[in-house]
């Protein structure tokens, strides 16, 4: 590891200024960046600690009922936040899967997103809640859907002079529920072989009016299962419907073989997890067994 400058900006403009130079990296949890630096897989001239920027370490309610989470808020803080647990339980659940307790004490939501790992635990839940990534840079601010910021494994649309400042979770309509499940060979402290977050909204007649399904670890980036979503819209929840959605999600996935699992296995898991997450989400909204 080479020597680098270490900076601890106190505001977002200071952060942007610090980041706007060659080989500047933001440090939050460090579980990816530090091993990369140590192995010289990543060169750094500047490392920026984002933990001391007050504007990025807050969770605040939006006026319209949504929620804004600073990019530097730790996984532990999110998992323990009453408002997140009450309104966005799939996110609270999924950030508690990141690494271990010690990692969650350091890891930030922004880090989990910007690291752009296909397996990032917090991302599918964000995507199925329709979360926005709020980006700030020297040229101003822009907001994108979370899924729009990934361009490949470890790569995002963020320019050198841009930072992810916060994530906005929109207010959810009535009758909405989301569930994230992942599959790991070992129960804890493992990386998802496949993960699915399913969010559905029902109308007064228990028809599905909105569905957002996001998949982890089955493509170069976390991805939306659009074909699966399409099968659901306008339909009444049933086991058969969810099986069809699972099959569609499997075709939405584009997994590869690697040491964690074969592509076929991942595709199969996506179909099972999609069906299961949809069934669990429905259970939160409707009493009784699914037809």
């Amino acid at each position: 590891m080479d020597l680098f400058n270490f900076q601890t900006p106190r505001s977002i403009p200071e952060l942007i200024a610090a980041k706007n130079s060659a080989n500047a990296w933001l440090l939050a949890g460090g579980t990816d960046l530090i091993p990369q630096l140590k192995e010289d897989r990543r060169k750094a001239e500047t490392i920026i600690d984002v933990k001391k920027i007050a504007a990025m370490t807050n969770i605040s309610a939006e006026q319209d009922g949504g929620l804004n989470i600073g990019a530097a808020v730790t996984a532990t803080t999110i998992a323990q936040s009453e408002i997140v647990c009450a309104s966005y339980p799939a996110l609270a659940y999924s950030v508690a899967l990141i690494g271990s307790r010690q990692v969650q004490n350091r890891a930030s939501l922004g880090g989990n997103v910007c690291n752009a790992a296909p397996s990032a635990d917090a991302v599918p839940a964000l995507m199925s809640y329709g979360a926005l990534a709020n980006i700030e840079g020297t040229k101003g601010k822009r907001s994108l859907m979370v899924e729009e910021i990934f361009t490949g494994p470890g790569r995002t649309v963020l320019e050198q002079d841009e930072v992810l400042a916060s994530i906005t979770l929109p207010a959810l309509p009535e009758n909405t529920a989301a569930v994230y499940q992942r599959f790991t060979p070992r129960r804890e402290m493992d990386i998802a072989v496949a993960g699915v977050s399913s969010r559905i909204t029902l109308d007064a007649n228990s028809k599905i009016v909105d569905a957002k399904i996001a998949l982890a670890s089955v493509g170069p980036t976390p991805l939306r299962a659009k074909a699966a979503e399409m099968t659901l819209i306008g339909e009444v929840p049933s086991l058969k419907l969810f099986e069809a959605a699972g099959a569609a999600a499997a075709s939405d996935a584009s997994p590869i073989d690697d040491t964690r699992g074969s592509a076929d296995y991942r595709r199969h898991l996506v179909s099972v997890l999609c069906r299961r997450t949809l069934a669990s989400a429905t259970k939160e909204l409707i009493q009784g067994d699914l037809p």
């Binding site: 590891m1 010289d40 599959f183 060979p185 070992r186 129960r187 804890e188 402290m189 493992d190 990386i191 040491t259 964690r260 699992g261 074969s262 076929d264 296995y265 595709r267 199969h268 898991l269 099972v272």
Partner: protein, 766 residues
């Protein structure tokens, strides 16, 4: 002279270093204060599996910041070998590359980071040659490290043809990384006359001493190897620590500086050997109760690029492929395959687990084919009375307690009722299926190489009545040091706290065997007792003279010496003895009696005795994903009269979980270029605290003690419990049988993906 009362032996004493370990004071080699001028060594690795180095440009390495010197093969003053037996493990490759990652040079630098960084800068050109990576590739090309070997009795071909029922099967058994939490580490301090003090995390200080001396070209007396404690060993530091000690020693000799080498986790996994992968094929004949009439078994062991300890490991696999069962007509064939991968080595069980798993698969297969409970099949096959009590290598199973132990466990685990509950559960649940299995272990205790069954100890009694204890055994967490200290304390009738346990060093006890084969306490406990009893004898004679009594009337108890009605504080006696010129220091030497082995015929008594145990495991599998959980495990294990029941239970619990990990989540994967793809804890998954059984009951078998004359009739406990983990694999097999109605093609490790494929007969789309 009467034996003393047992005050410390059989008590659940804490591990000798417990307080130091929980306060952070316990020092492992990397924690020792670094001597001034310390240099750090790091190896440079080959990036092909098979071929020749055509050109190697190390100029960038030498020019890197902090680099002091390079170690090339020509810099080795003596022999370029760190093999335990066969002379086929170069410390640094001489140009022929035989596995991916092989050491081709090493760097000495001022810091460890600098050395690691520089080691990556070599420019190496290779001429690649054909590499055999898999068992199949090596087997079909007759690529072996040692000759094939067989043992058995009877005419198996004829007996198989006559058998009432017959089955064939095949099982692939994965390897296992030791994953000791402390990786390989050595620190070498040069002294005068070319002497070297070697701090090496090793289970075999004597071998490391020989290797370091030989590579430096100096007599053995010039090298002292010292080790206070290891952060785990499990066999991985038996024959494979020497290479790192040698590199550091060569660097120390070249520069005159002390040198340390510590591999990082990934390199430790890439550069050092593991448990052997095996493939077992069987052809078995059996009656309608499942009783085996004849069996032909072939065990293919993947040894890696060199022989290392593979001969003895494959032998032990053969000698354990009977497990607890009588095989009337039997042929066991073993091949020791050479692959272009890291040289596989000792790992807790030393081939035994692969043998035991093979025959347990046969039991499950027979049961499934007859449609009866596998426990019934296991019971009818157990060793029994005259006529059914000799192993395939013609040793009498003289201490068979397996039937009694299994009966007790069957009752205490409520096996039969739970079996009925499992049937009921499976009837009610379509997609969750349970499996239940009871598997026994019979494990032979002794090194199969007879000459290794010897040990030495050195005991001093100091003037204040404190004791200095040293022996050839090493402490890797298993609690050997405290057990031996308990033995010595009781020899003198004094408190354990008065016995100082000192680092294992070749300077105090020479020519030792490795701490391996579960033999640590058996051998070193006995040697230390012999040394202590020798001194006690001298003290008793002296005390008898003081009080005009017979030596036989002198007793050592409660920190006192009692002669009739006279009592003297132990310390006072010691002071008087020194004044009277009585020697209070002694060595002790022990060799295991009775054992012998005839290589030519494959027969003999290789083991002093057997250790027994059994486990019942209940699992639930998810038929959609292959996920499973271990609901409950009950263990009953035989440690004879335990020297320390707390330590022994810890060995059983830890051994079981390690065995379960081997057969469930721990999967080693090599790519077709011979590169290990699972070389970090993120991809190679040992069990965490949540992977353990929901209910875990562990009991020690209450028997009459070891029938063989061991130290206080205790039994070895290091390796046998690992094989209790086989109950989980067998229960998973049973769950798949319960789900599908047929014997699955389930190989080890039974990862969730493997279980799902077994459920679906290899096809996700079913």
């Amino acid at each position: 002279m009467p034996d003393t009362q047992l005050r410390e032996v059989r008590q659940p004493k804490a591990h000798d270093s417990a307080i130091k370990q929980i306060t952070g004071e316990a020092r492992y080699i990397d924690d020792q204060r670094e001597p001034a001028g310390l240099l750090h060594c790091y190896p440079g690795k080959a990036s092909i599996a098979s071929g020749k180095v055509v050109a190697m440009d190390l100029s960038a390495v030498a020019a890197a910041p902090g680099v002091v010197s390079l170690i090339k093969v020509a810099d080795i003053p003596g022999k370029n070998d760190c093999s335990p037996i066969f002379g086929d493990d170069p410390i640094i490759s001489e140009g022929q590359i035989t596995f991916h990652g092989q050491v081709i040079f090493a760097v000495l630098a001022e810091t460890r980071d600098q050395a690691r960084w520089a080691a990556q800068l070599a420019k190496v050109e290779y001429e690649e040659e054909k590499a055999f990576i898999s068992v199949e590739q090596a087997n079909s090309n007759d690529s072996t490290v040692l000759p094939d070997y067989q043992m058995g009795r009877g005419d198996v071909v004829v007996d198989l043809a006559k058998a009432s029922n017959r089955l064939q099967g095949h099982l692939e058994i994965g390897g296992q990384d030791h994953f000791y939490l402390e990786g390989h580490v050595s620190m070498v301090e040069p002294g005068e006359d070319g002497d070297m003090l070697v701090h090496c995390s090793t289970q075999h200080p004597t071998e490391a001493q020989h290797q370091v001396a030989d590579c430096l070209g100096v007599p053995h007396h010039a090298v002292e190897v010292r080790i206070r404690r290891m952060g785990g060993g499990f066999g991985g530091k038996e024959s494979q620590s020497g290479q790192w000690a040698c590199l550091a020693a060569i660097g120390a000799k070249m520069t005159g500086h002390p040198v340390k080498i510590r591999l990082d986790r990934d390199d430790d996994m890439i550069l050092t050997g593991k448990r052997h992968e095996f493939e077992a094929s069987y052809d078995v004949g059996f009656d309608n109760q499942g009783r085996i009439e004849a069996i032909d078994l072939t065990l293919l062991g993947r040894c890696g690029h060199s022989a290392d300890l593979s001969g003895a490991i494959c032998d032990r696999a053969m000698m354990h492929s009977d497990n607890a069962y009588f095989l009337p007509s039997v042929a066991i064939h073993s091949r020791r395959l050479r692959t272009h991968t890291v040289s596989n080595t000792a790992f807790r069980g030393f081939g035994g687990p692969q043998g035991v798993l093979s025959i347990e698969r046969v039991m499950d297969h027979i049961a499934s084919s007859l449609g009866i409970d596998a426990l019934e099949v296991r019971k009818v096959n157990l060793y029994g009375d005259e006529g059914r009590n000799t192993t395939p290598y013609e040793m009498e199973v003289f201490d068979n307690i397996a039937p009694e132990l299994i009966e007790q466990l069957e009752a205490s685990s409520n096996y039969q009722n739970r079996r009925a509950e499992v049937v009921e559960f499976n009837r009610k649940n379509k997609y969750l299926k349970k499996g239940l299995s009871l598997t026994p272990v019979k494990f032979g205790i002794s090194f199969t190489a007879t000459h290794m069954n010897q040990a030495g100890a050195l005991v001093h009694v100091y003037g204040d009545g404190s004791i200095g204890l040293n022996h050839g055994g090493t402490e890797m967490g298993q609690g050997l040091y405290v057990k031996v200290a308990q033995v010595v304390a009781d020899s003198f009738g004094i408190d354990l706290e008065r016995v100082k346990i000192t680092s294992t060093t070749t300077a105090k006890v020479p020519n030792t065997s490795p701490t391996a084969a579960s033999s640590g306490a058996d051998l070193n406990g006995m040697a230390a007792k012999i040394a202590a009893d020798e001194i006690r004898g001298r003290l008793a004679e002296f005390a008898a003279g003081l009080f005009q009594a017979s030596k036989d009337d002198v007793r050592f108890e409660n920190n006192e010496v009692v002669v009739g009605t006279e009592r003297l504080d132990f310390t006072d006696l010691v002071k008087k003895a020194i004044f009277a010129r009585v020697s209070l220091s002694s060595t002790g030497y022990y060799k295991t009696p009775e054992i012998q082995w005839d290589v030519a015929t494959g027969t003999g008594k290789p083991f002093f005795y057997f250790a027994y145990g059994a486990a019942v495991s209940e699992v639930t599998i998810d038929c959609f994903t292959g996920e499973y959980k271990v609901d409950r495990v009950d263990i009953l294990h035989d440690v004879g009269h335990s020297l320390n029941p707390a330590i022994d239970k810890g060995q059983i619990e830890g051994g079981f979980i390690q065995g379960m990990g081997w057969l469930t989540t721990e999967e080693l994967k090599w790519d077709d270029k011979g590169r290990l793809r699972t070389h970090a804890p993120s991809t190679y998954k040992i069990p965490t605290a949540t992977d353990t059984p929901d209910v875990f009951n562990v009991d020690l078998f209450k028997g009459d003690g070891n029938r063989a004359e061991t130290i206080y009739r205790s039994k070895a406990v290091g390796e046998p419990p690992l094989m209790l983990g086989i109950a989980v694999f067998s229960a998973l097999t049973n769950a798949v049988v319960n789900a599908t109605g047929r014997m699955p093609k389930l190989n080890a490790p039974a990862t969730p993906e493997a279980v799902l494929l077994a459920l679906r007969d290899g096809d996700y789309l079913v």
